[in-house]
Amino acid sequence: MEIMAYNPPRFSEERLAQVRKIVGQFPEGRQKSALIRVLHMAQEDFGGHLTAEVMDYVADLLAISPIEVYEVATFYTMFNLKPVGKYMLEVCHTGPCMLRGADKTIAYLQQKLGIKVNETTEDGFFTLKSAECLGACGYAPMMQCGEHYYENLTEEKIDALVDAWQKQPVPPKAWEKID
């Protein structure tokens, strides 16, 4: 926290231009409508989760009060309020996916990663989560990681994906990315 306090989050110039563009999609005085999209960007840029400081920064940017940002960040499931691993794997466990073996997929990932659902591996690479229907029911079992859906999962597919991710360089800490 001390480090963060002297090094407040700031979007890059490119990001700020994107924020301005999104704000411009709404009528004068309705800039709050840009909030959800800007929070997605902030989560992407500032280490995969939203700290109070990041939320305050977003409030400032959009000229709304911090509480309006907290209200939204705590309502929607895609916003992480606690740190997560570099790769957050979310396996759908709603009825239609269960019909096609989502429970076995979750069990396999737990065993492979050595963690339970809602836990993060010690090296900070993987967080495993279960999710409610992601709109891929016909291609179950499935999981989401970042911007991608991985569908019709088998143990072999999971092995290939996890092994490839594991070979990536160590993830940068959130504050290291900040100017």
């Binding site: 009528p27 709050k32 999209r37 997605h40 916003f79 709603t94 019909l99 229907c133 029911c137």
Partner: protein, 451 residues
């Protein structure tokens, strides 16, 4: 009865891009509407087409449009509902991925009909790659003069934007969607006032599903009567069905309304039957919110007539022996599937997704999840079944938005049709744990249908 209207060109190579889409006849409806029809005439065609909302409720689209308030000097908005979060439903995603310009075209023509100058596509936040697909299509449409100022040299101007959500099923409910688009929590509003009078930023607003808006171009091109000639009775046109569960060929199918359910599940043209030669046990044909039916009642109604894919045929028998077409999320269960476990996952879903504003929904969904959890895990009691029915009755009709009903109906229907299976779970906790499925009505309905 394979009939493709929306997806006719979905498999043409390059149809995602503007050039090919235009070459295949894209954007003709905008030309026709702007050059030769008044907005009222477009609304009339949509009325004549009999098109009903494809988001789940099946409300006539033309009638909904005619309710839009038109006070002088107040902007109106058109919102496309691409929140698509109802378990079993993945059809809007397919349409937007395969043929994004069709939605863009539908929104332009619809905006013209409604006198709208700004429209938004509200899409669930998880569909990040589709945001990119849509924004690319929209940029192409601007570039070629289908969006922006004075479209085709007329006085009609339109801006269209994509707005992603943050992950919340409730934002599919239209007033929650509006709240979310205003940058707030997705808490449904108390109605009235309805969005048609006070919607986005308190201005008159129409909310329509992706598939509904994508049907508008063909209606304008071919005429409402031609569209109404497809289908059966008051279920006109085609419907996208997203088929999932235990099927050989799950996926998205465009069907003509009136297709027999049996043909849809078993013929090779569609889902190709159930894997491993297993028997057909049950079906939820319209997304998780609609009542589950056992195989016998799914294939034939209580009078013994074949069930077909229409709003009317699927709801024949009301909630006692019928179900609903809903969103077209068609979920099939084979003989090994456990109705108790399935019902538990639905209850967990609705509890997770309740916005928490009304106590019957917030508390009731929590209780249903808890009670179903204990039955599923071998700690249930006989009286739990009546308790579940009692909770579902106390939620139903007592909430601000229909999520409460959507949570209550599946539980009540599962107990109505599979009570023996729930009782078996309660009375044979160990066996139920080991096999994870009940016996219930299996013998009864396999005897009756012979599938």
């Amino acid at each position: 009865m394979s009939r493709k209207i929306l997806l006719e060109h979905a498999h043409v190579a390059g149809i995602q891009g503007y050039e090919i889409y235009r070459k295949m006849g894209g954007y003709r409806s905008v030309e026709k509407a702007l050059k030769s029809l008044t907005p009222e005439e477009v609304v009339d065609e949509v009325k004549r087409s009999g098109l009903r909302g494809r988001g789940g409720a099946g409300f006539p689209t033309g009638m909904k449009w005619s309710f839009l308030a038109k006070p002088e000097g107040v902007p109106r908005y058109l919102l496309c509902n691409a929140d698509e979060s109802e378990p079993g439903t993945f059809k809007d995603r397919y349409l937007m991925e395969k043929i994004p310009h069709l939605l863009v075209e539908g929104m332009i023509t619809s905006s013209y009909a409604l006198g709208v100058q700004t429209a938004y596509i509200y899409i669930r936040g998880e569909y990040k790659w589709i945001v990119k697909i849509l924004e690319k299509a929209i940029a192409e449409a601007y570039l070629h003069g289908w969006l922006g100022r004075k479209i085709l040299g007329t006085d009609f101007s339109l801006d269209l934007y994509v707005a992603p959500g943050g992950g919340a099923y409730i934002c599919g409910e239209e007033t929650a969607l509006i709240e979310s688009l205003e940058g707030k929590r997705g808490n449904p509003r108390i109605k009235p006032p309805f969005p048609a009078v006070k919607g986005l930023w308190q201005s008159p607003t129409v909310v329509n599903n992706v598939e509904t808006l994508a049907a508008v171009p063909v209606i304008v091109n071919e005429g409402g009567d031609a569209y109404a000639a497809v289908g059966v009775g008051r279920s006109t046109g085609t419907k996208l069905i997203s088929a999932c569960g235990n099927l050989n060929k799950p996926g998205v199918y465009e069907i003509e309304m009136g297709l027999p359910v049996e043909e849809f599940i078993f013929s090779d043209e569609y889902c190709g039957g159930i894997p491993g030669g297993k028997r057909f046990k049950a079906c939820v044909p319209g997304g998780s919110s609609v009542p589950i039916l056992p195989a016998d009642l799914m294939l034939k109604n209580a009078k013994g007539e074949d069930r077909v894919m229409t709003y009317e045929s699927l709801s024949d028998g009301g909630f006692l022996t019928g179900t609903m077409l809903g969103s077209g999320g068609f979920i099939v269960f084979d003989e090994d599937q456990c109705i108790v476990r399935n019902t538990y996952t639905y209850a967990r879903f609705y509890h997770h997704e309740s916005c928490g504003q009304c106590s019957p929904c917030r508390e009731g969904t929590g209780w249903m999840e808890k009670v179903l959890h204990r039955i599923e895990h071998g700690h249930g009691h006989d009286h739990d079944l009546d308790l579940l029915v009692d909770i579902s009755k106390k939620i139903e009709g007592n909430t601000i938005c229909p999520l409460g009903d959507a949570a209550a109906w599946p539980v009540a229907a599962a107990i109505r049709h599979f009570r023996e299976e729930f009782e078996w779970h309660v009375r044979h906790p160990q066996e139920a744990q080991a096999r994870n499925y009940g016996l219930g009505r299996l013998e009864i309905y396999y005897g009756a249908v012979g599938v």
